[in-house]
Symmetry: C2
Subunit: 637 residues, 2 copies
């Protein structure tokens, strides 16, 4: 307990919760982090695919970036409207559920879940990528660094950081600030040099041209670049967190975020072309991220360079945090509709949805391990989920406007319709372009998740129906008293106590002993002396001592079989198996004794029926030497 | 169950056991494997230490080998006598226990346990070393290969190989045969060439001389070479397995084993010097074992070379098997004296002591992992245990002869006394020479093991005394009926069944519900309708429904605390906690429901006292829709 306290903090009471109300200044770090940080891996993902074209590839980066920025603007106008329409929080799942129905909403939910796992994985791996660019000797430790950061993020989230805004503010503004300075510096150098600036720190030599350009390649570049759009929907989920006028504040925040992101994307792609920066092979020695090369080209590898890299690392790791903030809330919403295990509904000791956080951490870790923590390998899986969620959410908005049919509804429906159309096309493009590289994994995972939702819902429904009770309790249930079965290994206080408890339940007691040839004879002798004599004295029917043969030396199986046979022989009677158990003082002492009591209880539960009850009669070492039942609260933990 | 059947075979009945009676032909592979196989790593261990002396080091190998062979002969004569004196099997533990008392016997037991773990680890790692010499590309996979072989040996032993003799015979004789042929071939080549034979396959270049010879170094070389003696005691453990005249047959077997081992040691050390073979650095690329170099020097890397390497690999892996055969029997003997957990006494489904086998496998795996599967790093830990056991066993024999004082007892006592003295000296030499390299681990482990024996024995004794029962059972125990506490989450058939069971036990029932604000109101309403009405109708006291507050959202803790408080308030009464449990049809369905019932049961056991009993009232989904209690044996597993 105390270790848990130390690691994730003391439990918080329900009353300790408080709402925070934020404006755009705090809103940008909290909701914009995910979107803004994608400026660090979106262009990189696109440029990596252009490596085979060598320096020639740079000709294509500006038109492709323009297309991506146009897409970004369309999505922006769509989400502005969603914010106004759903001031209570309009995540894709909610919007799809209200407007499109259960099935599409589950598809949106599955897409979002996939997307959040990838956000966490890509954020962390891209952050580590930035670190490796600055300190190349860390390259062999890529995966360990990724998992280390994941553990820290998980613990921080289990603690439930209340002042998240403050923690996020500094790195976010540092990130945006340094990047804007780099872009400004780069533009000035380009102007001065007449369009052909010389890098301050020499760049790695451009790779040789190994392929010719094809439309197919450009399509793939566009698809990879689209990952820069992920995270744009975050503001629409959290309108409630803004201070009044909430909708206006949220819209203003979204506007600033999109404006900054567009600036960063445009600036980076222009300068990459001007300086002639070609991506390096990720996961190989000598790898350097685009932003690292750009920064060192504009300002050299000085103090400013390391500040920039540090802010990139921080922002990317924190963007993983965005996934940790939203994923558990999403899972809770899904679990409330019985589509996910109910455990996702319960808030843990720190008022956070611990199961959701842990689930996300485990899935992210698996993903990082499977892809060795290399961003470039994760990118093809990404974006499918995000754009599918965009599409469903925007399509839901169209239905929303149609249902309401307020003034100017056609205009609103058109804006969202355009958003749905464009993002829908993008889903198809990304799927086709990235299918072989990894989009197929997403395409397989999302329907499996939807099927899982269905399975969970059906199971809960089944249990609910099966256990529904519309009958009165019948206190004095008629029929014979239960039969008590007491498994006994050797004669001891433990056995005595179990038999005495059994006499409270019923006059019909059967003691069973599995005959392994060890102390059967001794048991029979003590039985006559200590048990039968006691019963005869008080004039009660003597319990039977039954020796069960066990040619294969099994202990549990013969008892289990006996109880099942007995239950079949007496179909109207209950059977109570009283299991004498020795409780040890210290956990390691359990290794010195067999855990057959537990095992028997468990196998009776699994193989038994509902007329078979198990009682565990605990015996505590070191308490009461006689029978002077001293009430003593033991302090064991 | 069926998977276990497939992996380790169907259960065997007690009656299926049968004794095998063997002669020297089968005895040599079964009991001699461990000893003979040490010819493959003993000389290697000694020569590795001579690497810094370069070619000069070879001058010292023959005198050191002579000393080791002399030691071997002394030990041989000692054990011949032990065999005659303990025809029922004279392991070091037994001999020490009968003659020296409990403490020395525990020391011998701890030494033997250490030795067996090392036998298994060294055998496997040396076998893999031979394989790597033949196929150098496997070098990076050393550890995986070691663990793979360990898993195979473990499974084979859990199956309980009955025809072990046959399996062992071929590789053992192949090993001895090929080595003898190599020695003969090498001797002939040496004779023909006039003492300076040229190797058929060129040897790796000898390393440069980096150190001067010191007595200290030669002492270390001797200590490492002494590992060649491990396994000599095996025959004395198993005299009973021989056919009549058992003692004669066992002695004859021992004689042949020692003769062969001495021949191998002498031959290998002579040829190593003649051919100028210097050891290569183990665990580094380019490593080759001594026997691999010797074989290829004498006959080249042809078919015969690979047959030899294969037989070495097999014999070394099987020598690990010797540890697997003896370790569980030793542990059983110790457990029968209550010095080890009783689980070691029970024979598993295949009539073998499964716990012992698994324990050895786990400890060996840990050792292999810690030392990356490199024989040379394990060697310093080895031999201490074996020679300590030798010493104690021989010292015990001296006492034995003194106690009996038969004819010629002085002569017998002298032989064993010489053995005890020489091996005792060797223990000290090995300890001193190898202390820093790893013998300190053994020196730490053995006393810890002895302390553990003491702890286990004291604990069993304590439990035995505490639970000793010399009182009659008191069937109709006086006093009030127990109090029943029924934790209820929501109203359902599961809850109904638990309450009905509680009414059998006592009229005083308290239902407790932890108020998390979820469905407390609903529960109160249904409670009046379905429970209270039922009780009022039958004129019984109505059970109380208690709402337990839980500001920190804990579920188990408030119930546990309530039960403990109740128990303190009623120090004379028993409390029965009836836990309604939903039993799922399939294992994965457990993830969809909380396991609070189990957790509550467990925490009541740990924190409770012996007046608190728990009853698990199972509810099976899909059975009885009404209450027409259909007796149905479920087929779940």
């Amino acid at each position: 307990m105390s270790f848990l306290d130390l690691l994730i903090g003391k439990p918080l009471a329900n009353t300790e919760e408080r709402a925070e109300q934020i404006g755009p200044i705090q809103g940008i770090p909290i909701f914009g982090l995910d979107a803004l940080s994608s400026a660090a891996y979106g262009p990189e993902a696109a440029l990596t695919l252009l490596i085979p074209l060598g320096l020639l590839g740079l000709h294509y980066i500006i038109p492709i970036s323009a297309a991506i920025i146009a897409l970004l603007l369309i999505v922006y106008f769509s989400y502005r409207q969603t914010i106004a329409a759903y001031p209570g929080g309009g995540g894709s799942y909610t919007v799809a559920r209200y407007n499109l129905g259960a099935r599409p909403s589950l598809l949106a939910a599955a897409a979002l879940i996939t997307d959040y796992i990838l956000t966490a994985a890509v954020g962390i791996s891209a952050g580590v990528g930035a670190l490796i660019s600055a300190v190349p000797s860390l390259q062999p430790h890529t995966l360990s660094l990724c998992l280390g950061i994941l553990v820290v993020v998980t613990i921080v989230n289990l603690r439930g950081v209340r002042e998240a805004g403050l923690v996020f503010m500094l790195p976010t503004y540092l990130f945006v600030g340094t990047l804007l300075i780099i872009i400004a510096g780069g533009l000035i150098r380009t102007l001065i040099s007449g369009g052909h600036p010389a890098p301050v720190t020499p760049l790695p030599p451009p790779p040789p041209v190994t392929e010719a350009v094809t439309y197919w390649l450009l399509l793939k570049v566009f698809s990879s670049g689209c990952t820069a759009l992920t995270g744009v929907e975050a503001v629409s989920n959290g309108v409630k967190a803004f201070r009044e006028p909430a909708v206006k504040n949220a819209q203003r925040t979204l506007t600033i975020i999109i404006f900054l992101l567009a600036m960063l994307l445009a600036g980076i792609s222009y300068l990459v072309k001007a300086f002639g920066i070609v991506a390096t092979e990720p996961g190989k020695p000598g790898y350097q991220s685009i932003l690292s090369m750009l920064t060192s080209a504009v300002f050299g590898k000085g103090f400013f360079y390391y500040v920039t890299i540090a802010s990139i690392l921080l922002v990317l790791s924190l963007s993983a945090n965005t996934a940790f903030a939203d994923f558990p809330r999403l899972c809770r919403a899904i679990a409330q509709n019985n589509y996910l295990p109910h455990a996702f509904r319960f808030r843990g000791r720190r008022l956070v949805y611990s199961y959701g956080i842990l689930t996300l951490a485990i899935l992210t870790a698996l993903l990082l391990i499977a892809f060795r923590g290399i961003t470039d390998r994760l990118i093809p899986l990404y974006a499918v989920g995000a754009f599918l969620a965009f599409t469903l959410s925007q399509a839901g908005m169209v239905v929303h406007w149609y249902k309401k049919r307020g003034p100017h509804w056609r205009k609103s429906a058109f804006v969202n319709g355009l958003g749905a159309f464009v993002t829908g096309i993008t889903v198809c493009v990304v799927l086709v372009a990235k299918f072989v590289e990894g989009a197929w994994i997403t395409l397989l995972f999302i329907p499996m998740l939807v099927m899982f939702f269905g399975f969970v819902r059906r199971h809960y429904h089944y249990v609910r129906v099966q256990t529904l009770c519309k009958e009165r309790v019948q206190p004095a249930n008629p029929g014979a008293p239960p039969l008590a079965v007491v498994p006994i290994d050797r004669w001891s206080r433990i056995a005595k106590q179990a038999i005495e408890f059994a006499t409270r339940l019923t006059p019909e007691i059967i003691a069973v002993h599995v005959d392994t040839g060890e102390h059967s004879e001794l048991l029979r002798a003590t039985w006559e002396r200590w048990v039968e004599a006691g019963f005869t004295e008080s004039g009660r029917p003597t319990p039977e001592l039954l020796m069960l043969p066990s040619p294969y030396r099994f202990i549990i199986l013969p008892i289990l079989q006996y109880v099942l046979d007995l239950s079949e022989k007496h179909p109207q009677r209950r059977i109570v198996v009283v299991i004498p158990e020795l409780v040890e003082g210290r956990w390691y002492e359990y290794f010195l004794h067999n855990q057959r009591g537990r095992l028997l209880e468990w196998s009776l539960q699994v193989r038994g029926n509902e007329r078979i009850f198990t009682v565990s009669a605990p015996y505590y070492l070191g308490e009461h030497p006689g029978s002077g039942h001293e009430p003593k609260l033991s302090k064991r933990v």
